[in-house]
Every structure is written in structure tokens, then in C-alpha cells.
Amino acid sequence: MFFNSIAFAIFLPIVFFLYWFVFNKNKSTQNALLIVASYYFYSCWDWRFLFLLVFSTFLDYYTGIQIEKGKSQKSRKFWFWLSITVNLGFLGVFKYYNFFASSFAELLTSAGFKASPLLLNVILPVGISFYTFHGLSYVIDIYFKRIKAEYNFVDYSLFVSYFPLLVAGPIERATHLLPQVKVKREFDFQTAKEGVYQIIWGLVKKVIIADTCAPYANAIFDNYTSMNSFSLILGAIYFAFQIYGDFSGYSDIALGVSKLFGLDLLRNFNYPYFSRDIAEFWRRWHISLSSWFRDYLYIPLGGSKGGLWMKIRNTFIIFVVSGFWHGANWTYIAWGFINAVYFLPLLLSNSNRNNMDTIQLKFNFDSIKVFASILYTFVLTCIAWVFFRARTITDAVSYLKRILTSKDFGFQYLDNERYSYELLLMIGIFVLIEWNNRTKVEPLSGKMSMLKTALAILAIMAFGTFSDYKEFIYFQF
């Protein structure tokens, strides 16, 4: 059940009605309903993996309590590592086993040995990377005594399985979400209205931007050997907007839906393509994952403390692991590595926290500099996206090489029977709308909100892509 499907349009009002009118006695009934709804939502993909979700929930719930109750450090450590090992073990088997097995076999083959790896014929349970990280952060926080263990299984289950964030995040923290599910939610008109705005704007991003860019980006990337420089550049830009529209659109809908139930989720995107450097980009893109890696990997590794080499090592580890989190493919690792390389000069010059303020443009030289730095950062990001999108690293390198060598900047007719330049106006308008509203969560609230909402609905219906139905990209992660 996708957020942009008819099924969800039926599911959501039913759950909303039951939540506020039938199960609104206390927080327990509210939570129980949301859990049932969440499990139903998840089972719409594949009910067989529901057991994995329930098991993972129970494991972290139980180990969390055992860690807290543990009288000796040895026992605490035991339960802690049990949880970490099982959680990462599931992730490893379902997501990474085939990658490691085939990469190892390739390595042996290249060394002259004959190897035929035993590969698993399993599909990746949707959302496993997200709910595993929910559980991990919870257990780690208990182990380091940052939070208390949750003894109410229903409340804890809701923290892990809450349907708006279950399959593609944002990756929540126990410190943020658990306190909210422990109290009865009261309906608030303004919050719910904000939620509606966010849902509608999320749909704009998904069906107008992401799904419209997707066939163009696919046509260009899949046939890059016959594309000219201009088309290849457009392909990278289209993919940049596809993935942004897709993932941030999903996050907006998730946050909006959650607001309808009175629960506030972590913001996941903050206009990342208006970043002035890569460090700022990573403070604005997939914020919940970046901060997760910062808190649970970068800082425990020593963070920016220690010597220069330590800083560099930690930076590369966090970016490469972040890339690998996205999928078991060398292209994701390369994408993470490239971002680390981008980040390195900022780290070495101690300027990675330079652009913390809100962007202001005026008619002066500084504004030109800001504009240029935004453009430069976007170009760097697009280059990295080529690695993210390409099938192999070789394809990505050839793609970029062809941009430089083709030197043909004419318009091309693509495999999808469209001209390569067709989306530029639409993307331009989208960027302008986001730019003018960059200080807000979404552009629909504020003055003339009803008119803006009506225009957004009109745009979704008229300009949206529905027939080339697309899944959300991040569901595969």
C-alpha cells in the first residue's frame, strides 16, 4: 500500500475516524489501534515478513529491559551485543549476504580460484533498514544510560512499527517519539491542517516531480552510450530531482499523516539543493539518517576529536557506511566515498560548520557568491548521484566521461518518446516555489493557503504521472 495509492486514500480516513471517534478513550486504545493499523499496513506488502517485524520489536523490547535490569556490566554487555548481533544479522542476511558472497567469489575468481557462491533467493523485507535502526538506537541509548527502557510492550511496538514511518522512515529516536506515545493525544486543528498541507505538498513532489522525472532519467541512464552531453547532464539533473521528490515527498506525506494522529515526527529534509556546501547538504538531506550515523557511529568512533587522521578516517567510515546502508552494491559505496571526498576539504579547513545560517539573497556581490556556491554544490551532488543511479561503477565513470567527450549539446529524442529538455520548465517552477518558501516546512501554508492548496491539487491531477506507476525508491533500502 503506497502513500500515493487509492488503497491508502481509503485506509487513512478509516484509521483517522476510528482513532479520534472510537478508540479515543485513552492513550492505550489509541496506541492499540495504531499498532493494528500499522501491522495491516505492513502486511499489505508481504504478510510473511510481519513475523520479522514482530520478532525484531520483541527482541529489542526484551533486551532493552534486560540491559536496564542487568546487575553486572557483563550481563548488560551480553544483552546489548545479543540485540546488536541479531539485528545486524537479519540485516546482513536479507540485505547484504548475496553481495558479500558474490563479491568474495569474484575476488577468488580473479585470484585464479574457481568459485560458485551459494546465493540466497530471498526478497528484501520492506523497511528492514529503517525499523532495524529504530531498534538499534533504542538499545544503544539504554546501554549508554541515555534513556530508560520501555516496559509497556504496546507503546514500544508503536515506536518501532508506527505505519507512517515504518517502511521508509524518518528514522525516529526513542527520546523523541516514545514520550509522545506515552500520553493521550488530543486533537489539534492547526496541527492537523499543517499535516494536510504536508501531505498535499508531498504528493506534488512525488507524482509531479519524482514520477515525471523518472521516465526521462531512466531513458537517459539506460541508454547513456547513445546520449549526448546535454542529455547526460539533464539525466543527472532529472535523477537528482527524482530522488529528491521521491524521498522527501514520502517523508512529507509521512510527517503529514502523523500530524493527523497528533504525533510529531523528525524532519527529514530541509531544502537540500539550496545548500552552499556539502556539509550543509548533509545537514539538510535525509536528516534522520545523517544524525543517526553521527550519534551512533561517528561520535563513538571519536568524532572530530583526536588527530587529523582520526578525523579523516571517521569521516570516510561514516560516509561509506551510509552509502552501504542504501544497498548492497559497490555503486552506493562509491557514492558514499565521493561524498566523503567532497567533505574532506571542509573538514581540513575547519569550515564544515560555516553555513549554519538561513540563506539571504540581496542585489550584491555576496549574493552572487552564495548563488554560485549553491550551484557548485548542486553540481557536485549530481555527479555523486550518477554513481548512485548507475548499474555499475564502470557505467557511472563512462557516463561522466561521455559528458565531457560527446561535446554535443543538441536536443535528443529519447526512448520514452519524449524530448530530453521537456521537463526543464517544470523543474524551474518547482525550484522557484521551494526557494520562495525555504523558511517554511512546505509552501502551502500561510497567506491564501486555500488557493495554494487548490492549485496544488489541480497540479497533481493535471501534471502528475500516474500511469507509469512508481514505487518509492527508498522502499528498496
Binding site: 486543528f189 519524449r418 486555500m450 492548496t453 491539487i457 489541480l458 491531477m461 493535471a462 500516474f466 500511469s467
Partner: protein
């Protein structure tokens, strides 16, 4: 909560109004269009007279050179539609009859398309803008599983088939952009490709015992005194499962088998589609067999 429910009701109302508005605007545009495709052309036309009308899929569209019929003094148009099935061919003929066309002969390409009686959504979608303006189209779709949504939910059909009849098509109609669908009297010539795929496997295809839409076309022709000429058209010789054509002949003895009239690869653009040169040889043979006074 009451305020929110009112607010939500407003949003729903706005959505419905926008759907009606867009539906009206798009439908109006499609009602004015007759230079984008064959369906629009037929729908927005009246009482044409033809000696020969050609119907079928791409294997009609790319195989019957309409100009060669014209050269013989036969007013002809090739209404074959690439990707189309007999579902659409039948509807096209019904539309022509509804528009009081006078047709002497219908040549129907009936071979591979006999294996199913489903709609080809990519093509059938192009009839949908007119669903409220033609009883024939409405009736033709009435047995489809999503008929109620397509007919009763405003703008749903334009959303569902946005790549065919969505904003892009609406925009091109509005700016008067033409397509080449009606060039060469509907015939679309193919060129010989160096790397054209000259292999095909039709082993899994089985002609339906009684194809509903084939029978419909046959009956319409009979009812309106139109000479019905069903033919099987050539396919490349590397095709696996060639006995399909014998099976067709067995079930439908009235269909003329021209599958082996052109066989050499040099006359094919791809295995299922002849090049212009092949199409000319084939058309000449059809003209000789059916339109030469003996």
C-alpha cells in the same frame, strides 16, 4: 474536530470541482482534435466514403500501402493502429458506422491478434475522452472491469492513462501540433534495419476459438453489406511456432493466409513487420487477388 471536518470537506469539494473542470476542458479539447491520431480523426468526422478501409494492428498499419489502392482508383485509408488489438479495430469500425461512413470493403489483419480479446490499453485509452459523447464507445467499454471508474469518476480516465491522454496530449492538441499518424493515408512505412531482430517465437500463442471482436467485425460487415476481407500478413521465416497460422486457418477458414507471400529477411524491418519494400510486394498481391477485375 468539527472545524477540521469542515476543512476536509472543503478540500474534497475543491478536488471534485477541479476534477469536473479539468474533465470538461480536456474533453472539449479532444472533441476539437482531428490531427493527432486516427481515433480522433474518425470521431470528429462525418459520413466519409471509402472503397477500402484497412483495420488491424501494426501488422496492418505497416503492411498495407494505402496509396497503391488509391492508384487503382480505390479510395482507401489505413486505420491499422500499432499496438492495437481486435478490441480497438472493432470499436473503430463501429465508430465509422455510427458516423455514417459508406464503406465497400474492409480488410482486416487477423492473425496474431486473434490470440486475445482484451483491450490494448495504450490504444483503447485514446477512445476514452469521448466516452460520454458516444454510446458506441460507452457500450464497448461497459464490460471492462474498471468501466464504472472510467465512466463515472470525473477526470479519472485522464489520470489513469496520463501518458496517452494526459496533459502532454492535451497541450499538443491545444497548440495544434500534428502527428504523422495520418500521413501516407494512414500507412506507416518501415525502413530496413541492419540490426533488426529477425527472430520470433510465437509457440505460446494460440488463436481463440471464437474471438469476440473478430466476430463483431464480421457481423458488422455482414449487416452493413460491406465486403469483409480478413487476411493473415507475412512474418519472417525464422519464426518459431509457424503452425499458429495453420491453427488460425482451421478455426477461421474464411481468413486468407498470406503469411508466406513475403519471406526473405531483406523485406523485413523486424520479424513481425515488413519494410516498405516488403509491404509494397504484399499490397500488390492483395490488390491482384481481391481488386483486379477478372
Amino acid at each position: 474536530m468539527k472545524r477540521f471536518l469542515i476543512y476536509t470537506a472543503k478540500i474534497v469539494l475543491i478536488t471534485v470541482l477541479i476534477a469536473f473542470l479539468l474533465d470538461g476542458i480536456y474533453t472539449y479539447a479532444f472533441m476539437q482534435s482531428n490531427e493527432r491520431g486516427k481515433i480522433e480523426q474518425v470521431f470528429n468526422s462525418k459520413a466519409k466514403k471509402y472503397d477500402v478501409v484497412i483495420l488491424g494492428s501494426s501488422r496492418a498499419n505497416n503492411h498495407f500501402v494505402a496509396q497503391m489502392f488509391e492508384d487503382k482508383g480505390l479510395k482507401t485509408f489505413n486505420y491499422g493502429m500499432s499496438g492495437g488489438h481486435l478490441f480497438e479495430a472493432s470499436l473503430m469500425l463501429k465508430l465509422m458506422i455510427e458516423r455514417k461512413y459508406e464503406i465497400k470493403n474492409v480488410i482486416l489483419e487477423a492473425d496474431l491478434n486473434l490470440s486475445n480479446d482484451h483491450q490494448a490499453e495504450g490504444i483503447s485509452a485514446r477512445f476514452l475522452p469521448y466516452i460520454h459523447n458516444s454510446e458506441i464507445i460507452k457500450d464497448h467499454f461497459s464490460n471492462e472491469s474498471d468501466f464504472n471508474e472510467l465512466y463515472y469518476v470525473p477526470f479519472y480516465r485522464y489520470i489513469k492513462y496520463d501518458s496517452k491522454i494526459g496533459f502532454r496530449e492535451f497541450f499538443f492538441i491545444s497548440v495544434g501540433k500534428k502527428t504523422n499518424a495520418q500521413d501516407n493515408l494512414g500507412y506507416y512505412p518501415l525502413q530496413k534495419h541492419k540490426n533488426g531482430n529477425m527472430k520470433n517465437n510465437i509457440v505460446n500463442l494460440t488463436p481463440l476459438n471464437r474471438n469476440k471482436y473478430y466476430e463483431e467485425i464480421k457481423n458488422i460487415c455482414k449487416e452493413h453489406h460491406i465486403n469483409f476481407i480478413p487476411v493473415m500478413t507475412p512474418i519472417c521465416e525464422n519464426t518459431v511456432g509457424m503452425n499458429y497460422f495453420d491453427k488460425v486457418k482451421k478455426i477461421y477458414p474464411e481468413i486468407h493466409n498470406y503469411e508466406n507471400v513475403v519471406v526473405e529477411d531483406k523485406y523485413f524491418s523486424s520479424c513481425g513487420h515488413m519494410s516498405d519494400a516488403g509491404a509494397k510486394i504484399f499490397t500488390a498481391r492483395i490488390l491482384r487477388d481481391f481488386f483486379t477485375k477478372k
